[in-house]
């Protein structure tokens, strides 16, 4: 499959009369967009805000981050199963508003989380301090159940991203990235001497606030399956995960999966990229055993000699990660894991809830318990009170002057386990 991502560089965003892109500046008709987004019986209203790099702004609690896109050539549309009808994506051309993102907020539950600081020390820890953000906040109906609330916020974000993306349909991209991968029989013939590598892509799937969707299907209900890397890069995977901001994969992360990007980059040079297997992180032990058995078997079936495994979340999924590693290594498939750590605020505790000596090649994307002091910001979008109860925060975290002391777990994307960022945990 061959996918072209045509990137239109967005250099500024502002509200205005008509939604369009003029010389890289995205103008958003906020009135029109609000009407579109508020078309949901579960919502009372929708607010829109802008947050730009370097501004003295804090967004909290962030639910999801999404990159606006539109499909201009080839089958399918954006966010299949949600916005577009279900049809295989991953080929043809998709246009991307590059350098910007839709950020959704909303306290669906009392302990929700997710901080994006657009400047200051916290900004270094999140990739979304560098994007021009349209922040969407919703007011739900009084007493709206959490499931419906989560669904409403998820849909609002996807709709907003699709709406903005459509402004790029007729534009000429500033650059075009090409992602292409043949089937594994062709690959093996083409690159007989290169090591065959697969990617085992674990998706958080434990229930409310912890779900991930593939073509609209709740991934806890799947058996591990093969997916083309270009399908992932074309928006087939959508996040419904709102907990543990540091190591949840936002939809933006899925759309820009860095492991897939890197493997495609090295394909035909250092390695032969054989395919992607998606797997889940379920609640029951029988599911964990079944999924890891099945995923490892698929990796083996496609003939991979090496694999990268990325985790999402921590604690419970550590068990899935370790099972995947053990089974792959026991099949003779050389494995590298990507995970974050929960080594305590002093960094002295055991990092993972499970372990195996077979995990001899692990990338650590950082200790999520490390504490950071975030000074007060002039403007807060969302609800600062949330800092006290969010996953990485702790009681008393919010000081009278508006500054907060939190574990970096509270910062969106700080220890992303796809390896999106440069943070690293080291032993001393």
């Amino acid at each position: 499959m061959r996918l072209e991502l045509g990137r239109i560089n967005i250099t500024d965003i502002r509200f205005g009369e008509k939604t369009e892109i003029q010389q890289g500046v995205l103008v958003i008709n906020d009135a029109e967009l609000k009407v579109l987004l508020a078309d949901d019986p579960n919502l009372v209203g929708v607010d829109l805000d802008l947050a730009k790099p370097g501004e003295d702004v804090r967004i909290i609690p962030v639910k999801d981050v999404i990159e606006p896109r539109c499909k201009v050539e080839g089958p399918g549309g954006v966010f299949p199963g949600f916005i577009s009808k279900v049809e295989t994506v991953g080929s043809g051309r998709t246009h991307v508003l590059s350098g910007m993102a839709v950020v959704t907020t909303g306290d669906i539950v009392g302990f929700q989380e997710g901080i994006i600081d657009m400047s200051g020390p916290g900004a270094d820890y999140t990739p979304f301090s560098k994007t021009l953000n349209l922040v969407v906040s919703i007011t739900p109906l009084e007493g709206l159940p959490q499931h419906k609330h989560e669904h409403a916020v998820r849909m609002v974000g996807l709709k907003a991203a699709a709406y903005l993306g459509s402004a790029a349909v007729d534009l000429t991209p500033d650059q075009v990235e090409i992602f292409e991968l043949g089937n594994f029989a062709e690959n093996a013939v083409q690159y007989p001497t290169l090591p065959k590598v697969a990617y085992l892509y674990m998706l958080q799937t434990q229930g409310l606030l912890h779900d991930t969707y593939v073509y609209g299907v709740d991934a806890k209900k799947i058996l591990p399956s093969l997916i083309s890397p270009t399908e992932v890069m074309d928006g087939a995977i959508v996040s419904g995960n709102c907990v543990s901001a540091c190591d949840k994969n936002t939809t933006y992360h899925h759309q820009n999966n860095p492991v897939i990007r890197e493997l495609l980059l090295q394909h035909g040079k250092e390695l032969c990229f054989h395919g992607v297997v998606i797997s889940n992180e379920n609640v029951t032990l029988a599911d964990k055993i079944r999924s890891s058995d099945y995923a490892a078997k698929l990796v083996k079936m496609i003939g991979a000699e090496g694999a990268i495994v990325s985790e999402e979340g921590f604690g419970n999924p550590d068990t899935d990660l370790i099972m995947n590693c053990q089974k792959l290594e026991e099949m003779g498939i050389k494995t590298v894991l990507i995970t974050d750590e929960y080594a305590g605020r002093d960094g002295a505790s055991q990092s993972l809830a499970d372990a195996t000596t077979l995990a001899d090649a692990v990338i650590s994307v950082g200790n999520a318990n490390e504490v950071i002091e975030l000074p007060a910001c002039k403007k807060v979008i969302g609800n600062l009170k949330t800092a006290e109860i969010i996953a990485g925060g702790f009681s008393g975290a919010l000081h009278a002057d508006g500054s907060i002391k939190v574990e970096i777990q509270a910062i969106t994307g700080s220890t992303n386990e796809l390896g999106f960022s440069k943070l690293r945990g080291e032993g001393f």
Binding site: D124, P195, V197, P258, V259, R261, E262, L263, Q266, E270, L271, E305, G306, A307, I308, S310, K334, V336, I338, T339, E341, A343, D346, G347, A348, Q350, S351, L352, A355, T356, T357, A359, D360, A361, V362, I363, S364, V365, G366, N367, E370, I408, N416, E417, L418, G419, F420, S421, K422, L423, R424, G425, E426, G427, F428
Partner: protein, 352 residues
């Protein structure tokens, strides 16, 4: 600072390296000598002109081991009198009690006096396991033949600590990993690092994992006994239960031996007959009724009831407290050989 502008360094040594005497002088109480002593000369040489070993504090290993808190308080008082800029302890190589002494003195100086501290030990020294989280311990050889190298590495890191420079990784600086995790920003993102690591692993090239797994020493269990009522069972403990008076003088920590004791004619251990040698837990309940740690009474009952075939007429005891893994494994192997020779089928192994 000294009057000529040099940093003031205090050096801690045991009775042996402090040139007071051998094991017979291990009870020596803390004392101060001006200037460097013994290995202090090598230390002074490595320090060069920027710092001066102004005093050496010497204390017997047993004195520290037997009076941990009091000894460390006394030594701390002597250190603080010296108005020192930093403390160097040892290196202790593989000497267990000396290593623990260097550790406890170093920990106290760092904690109470806020002083840069450096020591050196062999990786298996029990002091290393106990104190590596609290102070920097340079990895040394297992004996004093490694003195010269060790002192050089120790001084290099000590100067960094004094100057409050950033301390590098254990590999760069030569200290034993403290098991403490810190974050930093790498040159490349995690995905790129993962692909590079995988390529190295696939090619068989060396690579370093970023998160070492905890060290398991897993033993596959033997198949279960087929018939307990025909089996010969032995009692073994690392909880220190020994005949009253501790005839073999098994140490209360970092045991250098194990003991083998007859159970002939005994059906119940009492405060009259047995006690614990262990210094790592509150001994009151074990001394009141040693069966609580070494369950002889119930095993005799079970033999009488026919549940267990017979009891091996000896029990084996050592003290797990601070005993190095390598030593513990050695004692275990020796005990196992003895048990096998005696036709023992299974062991009840109790700890504390």
């Amino acid at each position: 600072m000294t009057s000529n502008g040099k940093l003031r360094i205090v050096h801690y040594l045991n009775q042996f390296f402090g040139q007071i005497g051998g094991e017979e002088m291990a009870g020596t109480t803390p004392r101060v000598q001006p200037g460097p002593v013994g290995p202090g000369l090598a230390l002074q040489q490595a320090l060069g002109n920027s710092a001066e070993v102004v005093a050496t504090i010497i204390c017997g290993d047993n004195y520290v081991a037997d009076n941990l808190e009091q000894a460390s308080r006394e030594i701390l008082a002597l250190i603080s009198e010296q108005n020192a800029d930093a403390l160097v302890a040892g290196p202790a190589f593989n000497a267990g009690r000396y290593g623990v002494a260097c550790g406890i003195v170093g920990q106290a100086a760092a904690r109470e006096l806020g002083m840069p501290v450096i020591t050196g030990m062999y990786v298996e020294n029990p002091g290393a396991e106990l104190y590596r989280k609290d102070i920097y311990i340079i990895a040394t050889e297992d004996s004093a033949r490694g003195m010269k190298d060790a002192v050089g590495v120790m001084v290099k890191l000590l100067m960094k600590l004094i100057r409050q420079e950033k301390v590098g990784s254990p590999e760069e600086e030569g200290y034993l990993p403290r098991g403490i995790r810190f974050n930093s920003f790498a040159e490349e993102n995690g995905a790129k690092r993962a692909v590079n690591m995988l390529l190295a692993k696939l090619k068989g090239e060396p690579f370093t994992t970023e998160l070492p797994m905890p060290d398991f020493d897993r033993v596959t269990p033997n198949p279960p006994l087929e018939n307990l009522s025909k089996a010969k069972i032995a009692l073994v403990t690392s909880g220190g239960i020994v005949p009253k008076g501790n005839p073999d003088r098994i140490e209360s920590s970092s045991a250098s031996k194990y003991g083998k004791y007859s159970l002939e004619g005994l059906s119940d251990l009492t405060s009259e007959t047995h006690e614990t040698a262990h210094g790592g837990y509150d001994p009151v309940y074990a001394n009141q009724d040693p069966d609580r740690v070494l369950p002889l009474d119930v095993v005799r009952d079970l033999v009488k009831e026919g549940v267990i075939g017979e009891l091996h007429p000896y029990h084996y005891a050592t003290v797990g407290n601070g005993t190095s893994v390598a030593n513990a494994a050695k004692y275990g192997a020796a005990i196992a050989a003895d048990l096998k020779a005696a036709g023992v089928d299974a062991v009840i192994l109790t700890s504390t």
